[in-house]
């Protein structure tokens, strides 16, 4: 894709969209891969006082000085403000201390439920995915959830076959009914679009399509009759500054090319 700021990759745009989910001063449960860079980008732009939590037991108020392939890489530990036990860290999440959390997924459905476990029947899966990690905890307990996904019809079924990380179940007040204390997906950031959820039914809806795409293009890659928000628009392209910072964070393009 290209912009006045120059060429960029879908991953770079997703990082920018993810960073924009982070508000200044928020406590953010940072996941793996793209959110690692989104957290660094947000810190260096509009959210300088955001704080990052990592499920291996880290809290950082500065982004790692080097690219991370895993959250347990040595540069993420040096300079952390707290290095502790996973349960102590996750306890903060369970208390409601994290306003925002990120997760990735292999499949997401109309109500934001995520599958990262079993494609096909649980007893005889056609694909066994790695599982929850901390994802299901973040989806259960964070104040808002941002989901990062590749976008195609196969990954966007109307109903996932297995709910690893609870979204809005079958919609409406489902989370409240099953006893989840808060939260739910606020955004799905994909290779094609940014999607949100309606306030009442909690059904996914298109909020913006990426430059070069279209609402119809997004709908064609979605496994149900996707609603389009009344004020849906094109995703603002990355700025030159945003791209510069992303490339400083990931000079080899390990996650963003």
């Amino acid at each position: 894709m290209s912009t006045a700021a120059g060429e960029y990759t879908p991953q770079e745009l997703m990082v920018v969209c993810a960073a924009r989910q982070i508000r200044d001063g928020e406590v953010v449960f940072v996941g793996m891969r793209l959110p690692l860079i989104a957290f660094a980008l947000a810190k260096r732009t509009h959210a300088p006082t955001a704080v990052g939590l990592f499920e291996n037991g880290l809290v950082r108020d500065t982004p790692s000085p080097e690219l991370l392939l895993t959250m347990g890489d040595a540069p993420n530990i040096l300079g952390a403000e707290w290095a502790t036990r996973t349960v102590a860290l996750m306890g903060l999440l369970a208390q409601g201390c994290a306003q925002l959390g990120f997760v990735g997924g292999a499949e997401v459905d109309r109500f934001g439920n995520l599958n990262t476990s079993y494609v096909g029947r649980r007893e005889h899966p056609t694909v066994k995915l790695p599982g929850s990690g901390g994802g299901a905890d973040i989806a259960s307990l964070a104040g808002r959830l941002a989901i990062i996904m590749a976008h195609d019809r196969k990954r966007f079924p109307e109903r996932v076959s297995y709910v690893t990380s609870p979204g809005y179940g079958d919609g409406g007040d489902w989370r409240e009914r099953v006893g989840l204390p808060r939260g739910g997906p606020a955004a799905v950031i994909t290779t094609l679009a940014v999607l949100g959820f309606t306030d009442d039914t909690h059904e996914m809806e298109l909020r913006s399509w990426h430059p070069g795409g279209s609402p119809e293009g997004v709908r064609a890659q979605t496994g149900w009759d996707l609603r389009v928000a009344a004020d849906a628009t094109e995703t603002p392209a990355p700025t030159a500054d945003e791209l510069r910072i992303i490339r400083e964070c990931d000079p080899q393009g390990f996650w963003t090319r």
Partner: protein, 305 residues
């Protein structure tokens, strides 16, 4: 106090028989006891139950080598590369054997170990409510809180037979210092019937006792201490060496088929009698390139009076 130093082969032979439940990979991505795992493979251990949050590719290797009957974990795969092919083959096709999988999340497996460490029967939580992890789990069960009737999930205590914990340093008597993100190392060490430490360095007891807050668990839990420099490679050890990202990519490529994996296993595990020979095979230059280059010492702390 008795010396507990054993060779890796002897520690595994003595304390991890067939059928054991073994917690390992407890700090998530760092400090994964690969050397110990490879010894389990060489000794052809069978029917193990693996317990851990995320053990990066070590669980995949043990599964591919046929050592494992059951997995109780939050995530099995290759953290920087994606899926674990051996895990897929075992669960999808029963190759080399079928696998019982008990899915946890990181928090719930941590709470299960914590419950055992605290000597309580279970911990009630609100994570995973409404998920299929909870629906399908053989041990986690829903129950309203007797306090206010709201839904909770009861996570029963999980006590591993043995926890294998890779650490920066330990003394011969069985006390270890570990630093960095701790994951569930402490919970697992306290929950387990016994602990095997594999350590970058064996140091005099004075070093360990100089900082009792840094000690992971008391000696009464320790079964054995193994001197295993480089024993966590390719995972990182803070202050000692960095993650060998290339090794994870390489493993990803070389485990796509069962045949390729068998070849990888011959080269890196069965063909190496011990960790020294593994490191020699890795090559001096590559190993040196991973070693920590800059010291960043913690500020001094005074226990005097």
């Amino acid at each position: 106090m008795a010396e507990k130093v054993l060779s890796m082969a002897e520690a595994i032979r003595r304390y991890v028989p067939d059928g054991s439940s073994v917690a390992l990979g407890l700090a998530l991505e760092p400090l994964i006891p690969f050397a110990a795992g490879h010894e389990l493979i060489r000794q052809q251990r069978r029917d193990l139950t693996l317990i851990g949050p995320i053990s990066d590719i070590l669980f995949d290797q043990l599964i591919g080598a046929g050592c494992v009957g059951r997995v109780k974990a939050a995530w099995v795969g290759n953290v920087s590369e994606g899926l674990g092919y051996n895990y897929r083959r075992a669960t999808e096709q029963g190759i080399p054997r079928g696998l019982e999988v008990e899915d946890y999340s990181n928090y719930s497996v941590g709470l299960a170990l914590l419950a055992a460490a605290l000597g309580v029967p279970y911990i009630p939580m609100r994570s995973l409510l409404g998920s299929d992890i909870a629906r399908d789990h053989p041990a986690i069960r829903p129950a309203p809180s007797p306090l206010d009737g709201t839904p909770t999930l009861l996570v029963p205590a999980l006590q591993p037979d043995v926890a294998i914990v890779h650490v920066q340093r330990a003394d011969a008597e069985g006390r270890a210092h570990v630093w960095g993100g701790l994951g569930v190392c402490e919970e697992a060490a306290l929950a387990a019937r016994g602990v095997i430490y594999t350590a970058e360095e064996i140091v005099p007891s004075e070093v360990i006792l100089s900082d009792p807050n840094r000690v992971l668990a008391p000696e009464m839990k320790t079964l054995a201490v193994v001197h295993a420099p480089g024993g966590a490679h390719p995972s990182p050890v803070q202050g000692y060496y960095n993650r060998d990202h290339a090794a994870f990519a390489e493993y990803h490529e070389r485990s796509r088929t069962a045949e390729d994996f068998a070849e990888w296993l011959r080269e890196w595990v069965m063909g190496q009698p011990d960790r020294a020979s593994y490191l020699a095979h890795l090559g001096d230059e590559r190993w040196r390139s991973l070693r920590a280059r800059e010291q960043r010492l913690a500020a001094p702390v005074d226990y005097g009076y």
